[in-house]
Symmetry: D2
Subunit: 344 residues, 4 copies
């Protein structure tokens, strides 16, 4: 019988950690050994994440400066604020694998990283050992990796929407990505932009042209094929709790029909259980609480539109992290992740 | 090895049917043999309930007038409009069990039924064979039953909130129930009261003093203990998709402390996996998409307040129906139902 | 021609101040002389309250310790955190009127105040000079007052729902008030209970039996008639931005019909422009952004149910404050306040 | 003293009619003579639009086939389903002006119209007499017009966002418009796409490449300047009641800075009271219930992004219709329309 993967979660007070708990407590081949959260150290997990009441007796540990002092695990998930994993990953025992949900190790080039995140890459050597964990594109590499940089939520939806076009050389002109996110993407800490009285009636753009996921998208797509020019990447806030919706517009050199594009996408993703090609449009409603990325594609001749919808906390964070764990430990890619969304 | 329970679902186009599908497709001991929906007959289930895309190849059958013409199943779930089960249950083969999610068989007295539902009880003989399926209160009867009347969503929350007080003779004076429901309780068919532009900013009372769940509540509580006088039952609409929140106010003869009340509830529900006693207040947020009923109780001396929160479509409908199926077939009561909610 | 009332607003960064601005900028007989907000001192008002862009050139002043150093006004509105007005009102020039939107001066008895608000009444002498500004009940007193304690939002809805029953001696038994509020009632400062990802799916009770508006309700109703016993007052949070909905249940000694109750309410409020008696139920949707209190009443014989809906920031705060100003300065009671809500 | 404009409203049961009522009841220079709605004929307006309770004694008339049988008015607003105005406008008395809020007369070319709306233009001669009522662009023509085709909501936001770029010849390459609408844009009639249980958690694209507002946008922008190629126009549904947000991406031949673009927009709209140029991004929250169009512009060198936000029922429908009426009757353009939005 398969031995369970022993798991540690670093940073369990936020939504990333909360979702990891929810998924891993029910994973058929995983066992949570510890979870840390400095602000809640000593408290029971279910007192903080009340959805888990009755499901776990775990309590939060403080996060030590030296992770080798924690109980032994096979893999540690880092669900900490940007910047924290950089100083902690190096203290893991050598044999322990790591999956980082922050942006700390996603960007190969330290200069681009510094510009995107406004901080220095202080673990540049370590960064070279990281594999970018977009499960649908790099399954083999991920299976062989010790260190995984889990993709950003916007990046996941955008890359999955564009990859078949890049791979097949369709995108020869401008690429415009109009991306929208729900409020949980801003994290569990109350802030002005997630204050209910205003957020509940709002829709607005933010970080025009400069969102930090853009270099991650460019770097990843560049490994898939030729990106003709830097995509325009524009992020917006939606008044829902969960969901990313990416509308991608690509100029093609030659006319290509909707049927051809659809066939191309179905072929590209035919082996990928978590990508579903749908008609007309995906909807964040149908993927909420799931690990699916639903995609629809259209053409008006030379402009191709590709829409992708994911749950930012599942396929855009914790779900994809577990998917990567599955690949890294030779488990079924779908283990613990195959549940449908809900209708209303 | 345990043989799977073969299941049929009658009326699969609404939210009750959609939730039954979602739960039963993943039930470890059940197999869906058929699902019917006249308006969608011939269509694939996943084309209607897009959350299920990739999870089932089932297609909708039409609902025949004679259910014995359908493939053989061990249990049939009726998720049809009020009034439909009355004329159909009698056509089931004798050995087939039935769980009715509508209000058709919940009321023992045909006169009270007619008044509450505005229609005659045309299957009064059949009704006598039905057991009221409030799983937490009548598990033994349910286990022995062939026919189950699955409780209403408001009734489930209200009865679970009040049962310990009734059982222990605490409620000697007035009982006021101020109950609130989300929009999915009105079903999958668009209507004025669920029109998004207005519902999303609304809160209002409806059916003052006259909601059809009141006789069901009285009848059920009357089996638990002495109900001093007919409860006042007032229903309201909340601008959320899922959730029932029942605020119950009970006058006691003698002073009773919050601590005593809490101990009483914890004792009453100590063996019931799907009732959780919480501090301060339950929240529909923490039970959404789950089969839990979260309850909190308070006292100011002689007024006891009991709050209960459930997901109207799970513990208030499909989840409790599956829980009843589990009890009827000797399965673990929690089989296929033990998943936590989500935080955001 | 009528000289405009010169107005000052103390504390203009929150929702109370923002609504005062919105109303007073368009008031036909008022002129805003200054507005203060320490955290925004020097900034333009429209940079903070973006809805006002293009409507005002006002900038925020700091709030001085001695209000007599500010430009002369006829009336100062205090829209500051609880506790601030207590130390500031006394520094106003003698001739300046004041309307306090906080809870500082609503409670006559310093001991009850201290218990309700968790702080000492440090201006007890001053408090005696304050008139409770429930405009519909105390118009004459308000007209003659120099100092007004503007009622709380919950208190306004509850008192207006109950006053006719108290006045007419109908309420002889228990009074239960099940009250619900939108998120803007918690103010403009982000906090855990107004964090969009969770608030948008939530409904829960808070401060069971102990909300600070209860003594205010008792004190005010006691001036209207005999309150048989302390009402049970239970507050809940709704997932909308604006709105208070109060469901009040009153035990009567003798049977009273719905028609009698309705006639009683219509008579009681026949001169009050901002109270509308409606059928079945009020709805927060129909009063949002307005100064109306919509009320419906029902009876099942000896239990009377009265429902009231208001916009917590208008009739529950800034609108009623302006209504009181109108009364104090001999203006039409409705001046600047007579606009309808919107349908969707 | 100015005589009031006598107004008739044809089709008062929907949101367009409801908003016209709300605005015109308070217009300083208008008087509503009649309002029609076949389905509500004989009912009082306030019974249907409960926000107006206490503001009007008007009742709905049936809509006659021959409008000359109605009382005389100076202007008739048509707020009817698409297709109705075509057969009715011709029956107006010659001297009566008309403002049509439907799409019936917006498109000059009958073939393009037929393709966009899926119906024949049966009043092609009449159509030639219509002026396109985008108030900010065609004020002089509107002032001289008898018949106004009031622009669509999507078209209004998109055209106002793009006009300065077209006028100044900046848009030389592709134009991509990613547009989003709230649920009230679908009208007052319940439908699957506005069913609260699903709409409240949804975001999706619809009518890809084929929305009927595209030809209206092209036709109008073609009058402003040279449109290099047909814009890509993609419509999405947001889970809010009110709001249009248009994100427009324009390829320029030469580099142009954000500062230059901003200066260009400020110059272009310097005389237009209802356009506000804002920083970073407009937000539907700040324009809800108002007649404003807030716009922000950015550049990354050769891609210009222009964002526009409006309230679809005010600036996108009834507000602009009243603005056009003001222009047509020589009133102040802002009469009855100058109110700010709200913060929460």
């Amino acid at each position: 019988m398969l031995k369970n993967v022993r798991v540690g979660i670093l940073g369990g007070s936020g939504y990333g950690g909360s979702e990891l708990l929810r998924l891993l407590l029910f994973h058929p081949n995983a066992e949570i050994v510890y979870i840390t959260a400095n602000e809640h150290a000593g408290k029971s997990v279910a007192a903080v994440h009340k959805n888990l009441l009755g499901f776990t007796d775990l309590s939060f540990l403080p996060t030590p400066d030296d992770l080798s002092t924690l109980p032994e695990v096979d893999v540690a998930f880092f669900a900490m604020p940007h910047g924290a994993a950089m100083s902690l990953v190096g203290t893991l025992p050598n044999g322990t694998k790591a999956i980082d949900l922050s942006g700390d190790f996603r960007i190969d080039d330290p200069e681009i990283f510094a510009k995107a995140y406004g901080r220095e890459q202080t673990a540049a050597e370590l960064q070279k050992g990281f594999t970018y964990g977009l499960s649908e594109l790099f399954a083999e590499e991920i299976a062989a990796a010790r260190l995984i940089a889990n993709p950003g939520c916007f990046a996941t939806a955008t890359i999955l929407a564009l990859a078949p076009l890049i791979k097949n050389g369709i995108a020869t002109g401008n690429i415009i990505v109009d991306a929208k996110t729900g409020s949980s993407g801003s994290g569990a800490k109350p802030a002005a932009n997630t204050h209910h009285p205003q957020r509940s009636n709002s829709f607005y753009a933010y970080k025009p042209f400069t969102h930090q996921h853009l270099p991650e998208i460019e770097q990843c797509l560049g490994r898939v094929g030729t990106v003709p020019s830097p995509p325009v990447f524009m992020t917006h806030s939606m008044p829902v709790s969960r969901g990313i919706f990416a509308s991608c517009y690509v100029q093609a050199d030659a006319e290509i029909s909707a049927a051809e594009i659809n066939a191309m996408y179905r072929e590209f993703y035919k082996e990928r259980r978590f990508v579903r090609i749908v008609e007309t449009s995906p909807d964040i409603n149908w993927v909420k609480m799931t690990n699916f990325c639903d995609i629809a594609v259209h053409s008006n001749g030379t402009t191709v539109a590709a829409f992708a919808a994911i749950d930012n906390l599942v396929k855009g964070a914790a779900g994809q992290a577990v998917q990567n764990m599955n690949l890294m430990f030779g488990l079924a890619e779908t283990a613990g992740l195959l549940f449908p969304g809900t209708n209303p």
